[in-house]
């Protein structure tokens, strides 16, 4: 190593790995339902896909994590996006492709994809 630039390159490469190890209260939290119902419906690939894409696109400030049963088992896999200061967005019946789209449009682009979200009519039915 002969320059600060080389040092910086290593730092950038490692950032994703170390950044997670702190309390990130201002982060967007993406929560995937991973109870038995979620896993059975295919939540694992959704979680993996989202975590991988967030890293790949270097979306700092986004934490992908998992939670237990959200209570709407028939709409699993469910993904919730919690953004500080905004209302929670709940995506239902997710799969890998939809997950990729959410990362692209919502997490990176800032626009929730309403056609995948839960709404009143889903709950009434």
């Amino acid at each position: 190593m002969k320059s600060l630039a080389e040092l910086k390159a290593i730092k950038e490469k490692m950032k994703g790995q170390v950044d997670m190890r702190a309390e990130n209260e201002g982060n967007i939290r993406v929560v995937v339902g991973m109870a038995t119902c979620g896993i059975a419906a295919g939540a694992r690939p959704v979680l993996q896909k989202m975590a991988a894409l967030v890293n790949e696109k270097n979306l700092t400030g986004v934490t992908v994590t998992q939670t237990g049963c959200i209570g709407l088992c028939r709409y699993e896999p469910i993904v919730e996006v919690h953004e500080p200061g905004k209302e929670k967005v709940t995506y239902i019946n997710m799969d890998e492709n939809k997950a990729a789209e959410v990362v692209e449009k919502h997490l990176a682009g800032g626009n929730p994809i309403t056609e995948y979200t839960i709404n009143e009519s889903d709950l009434v039915k």
């Binding site: 600060l4 040092l7 730092k11 997670m20 309390e23």
Partner: protein
């Protein structure tokens, strides 16, 4: 890339409570659940809560699991890492409240802490240089050698107000400045690190070496650039095998990256480091003895001046700092002198690491800003005294320091305040004592240590500490007389005034400080032959309360010296001449008729 990180504490405390087996179990369970590509496992340095090891922290949630057993691991992996359900049962109890799981930084232990020297301990993998680089590692070194003049570096350190963390508290920047300028035509200069942490109960430096060894490597290279040295030595005791191993790995990794060696950052600056192992002699923590030991000589001190900055290793100018002092350096360079001097008190800037031990709930490692009160450290961070006992005193500075009694609980801890009340900062051991500790016995304990560790070169220390120990020993055995106390005080001052090095000059401090604050206890020992704390065995008496004795003979049968007399169904009596105060009868007596007075 990992979506989740499992950090397992691998400091010495957790290693001895079994963290390696836990870490292996985590890896095995991850494999079993097919998660090994999603979840990373990292062994880190000390989190500080050594009493609660093994410790696991899982991110991004920041869940802090304490006292984790191998058998708990399967549940943590399948519940938390697979299904995302935090296993509350196994969390550090302070983080669980009625309102859900609290952040670790909101717990009593961490709330008032401020981690500078320990900032990477428990965060990065100490055996992985890339992780250190990811948290700004080696950036300070890069800046220093490519953008700053040595004088500028020294000015930053002087302006920061950093003082030596090894005990004396000499301003670090001034030390560097002297080493730079005192001998302008020196052919060779050295940078040296004192990692010979010898105070009983102190483990601050060990934790830095184990948790963040690259910080030391980087800081020593910076010191080398500032004073004009191209070689460095770390003197560390062989009794710290994990620290030595990780430091060795760090040095090799830094060499591989060209961060040690020739022409660092293409600046023309050369620097390399070597480890020297010490055999664990306390006197080798004294700087001149330490350097003698590095040179391969017998570890004995020599008179100062000349100070190491003028004539150090092999007669050459040498800068010598302690591990914790160095650990602050890269941060000061990166964040500026002003940032550092904004923390702490008027004459003591920054933070200080303390190793909490003795009668305290949260045994472990804490770092607080200078000026934090002893009460905050003991009762808020340390969690207070176990068993509802009363605080009696805290001992700082190890065998060279003294006690801080209860009336000084609100003292703001810094160099000057501690000296004012007859103690000293020392390297940071903080041992808490409660009402069950006898202060004569404590003084004797530290004297026994210094008698053992005195190198024997000078008479005041070699003979003086021995005589002092004998006087204390007599007092604890009921053979002391009131005149002994004054004699002891005289001897203390004689040893202080006439010893060659710091070991002897400070050895009487525990006695003087205890005499100052707890003189009544000494007087009680010599006049009434009584030890209120019931520690000095030979001043105790075991007696049988006649009203409670049922004459069962159990006590008489268990007594190894047949000191208990009495027939079946009659009251028993202990013959004080024969009694050796072993206490065996007390445990056997069912009605609780035998008491200590």
């Amino acid at each position: 890339m990992f979506r989740s990180h499992v950090l397992v504490c691998a400091g010495t405390g957790c290693v001895s409570s079994g963290c390696n087996a836990v870490a292996d179990a985590v890896k095995e369970q991850l494999k079993k659940n097919g998660l090994e590509k999603e979840v990373g496992v990292t062994l880190t340095g000390c989190f500080g809560l050594c009493a609660l090891g093994p410790i696991i922290v899982i991110y991004p949630e920041g869940s802090f699991y304490s006292e984790v057993k191998e058998s708990d691991v399967a549940e943590i992996v399948s519940e938390h890492l697979l299904k995302g359900r935090v296993v509350e049962r196994l969390l550090y109890h302070e983080t669980v409240s009625d309102e859900g799981v609290k952040s670790l930084n909101d717990t009593g232990f961490y709330k008032k802490q401020l981690r500078v020297a320990l900032r990477n301990c428990g965060v990065i993998n100490p055996e992985e240089i890339d992780e250190y680089i990811a948290v700004d590692g080696y950036q300070a070194l890069g800046q220093v050698v490519t953008e700053m003049k040595p004088e500028e570096v020294i000015k930053v350190i002087i302006d920061s107000g950093l003082r030596g963390r090894g005990g004396g508290g000499f301003p670090t920047g001034r030390k560097w400045d002297l080493a730079r300028r005192l001998v302008p035509d020196a052919k060779q200069k050295y940078v040296c690190c004192n990692a010979d942490e010898g105070d009983p109960g102190a483990f601050m430096d060990r934790s830095v070496l184990e948790g963040d060894p690259h910080a030391l490597v980087e800081a020593m290279a910076i010191a080398g650039y500032a004073v004009g040295a191209d070689r460095g030595f770390v003197y560390v005791r062989a009794e710290y095998p994990i620290a030595v191993k990780r430091l060795q790995i760090a040095i090799e990794q830094a060499r591989d990256y060209g961060l040690l060696g020739k022409n660092i950052f293409d600046s023309g600056f050369n620097f390399d480091l070597e480890i020297r192992l010490g055999a664990g002699a306390f006197v080798c923590g004294e700087e001149t003895a330490l350097m003698a030991s590095i040179e391969g000589e017998r570890g004995e001190p020599r008179p100062r001046p000349p100070f190491p900055a003028e004539k150090g290793l092999w007669g050459m100018p040498t800068v010598l700092n302690n591990v914790e002092t160095y650990a602050n350096i890269p941060q000061i360079i990166l964040r500026g002198a002003e940032w550092f001097s904004s923390m702490g008190t008027e004459n003591s800037k920054g933070t200080k690491v303390f190793a909490l031990g003795g009668k305290i709930k949260n045994t472990g490692l804490v770092e607080v800003p200078m000026g934090t009160t002893l009460r905050e450290v003991v009762f808020e961070i340390g969690g207070g005294i176990p068993g509802g006992k009363k605080f009696k005193a805290a001992q700082t500075g190890g065998p060279s320091g003294g006690c801080i009694p209860v009336e000084h609980l609100d003292i703001e801890i810094d160099y000057d305040n501690l000296i004012k009340i007859g103690s000293m900062m020392g390297s940071g051991g903080l041992i808490v004592m409660d009402e069950d500790n006898c202060m004569v016995d404590i003084a004797k304990f530290f004297l026994e240590f210094t008698v053992d560790e005195s190198c024997g070169k000078c008479v005041p220390c070699r003979v003086g500490t021995k005589r002092l120990y004998e006087m204390l020993d007599n007092i604890t055995k009921g053979k002391g007389s009131p005149s002994d106390i004054d004699e002891m005080e005289k001897l203390c001052h004689y040893i202080k005034d006439n010893s060659l090095c710091g070991l002897g000059q400070t050895a009487p401090n525990p006695v003087l400080s205890n005499l100052n604050f707890f003189r009544q206890e000494f007087i009680e020992h010599v006049t009434e032959k009584k030890c209120s704390a019931k520690i000095c065995k030979e001043l105790l008496q075991y007696v049988i309360i006649p009203e409670k004795c049922i004459g069962c003979t159990l006590c008489a049968r268990v007594c190894p010296t047949n000191a208990i007399e009495g027939k079946l169904k009659e009251k028993h009596v202990i013959n004080q001449e024969k009694c050796i105060k072993c206490g065996a009868c007390v445990d056997k007596c069912k009605p609780g008729a035998i008491v200590q007075i």
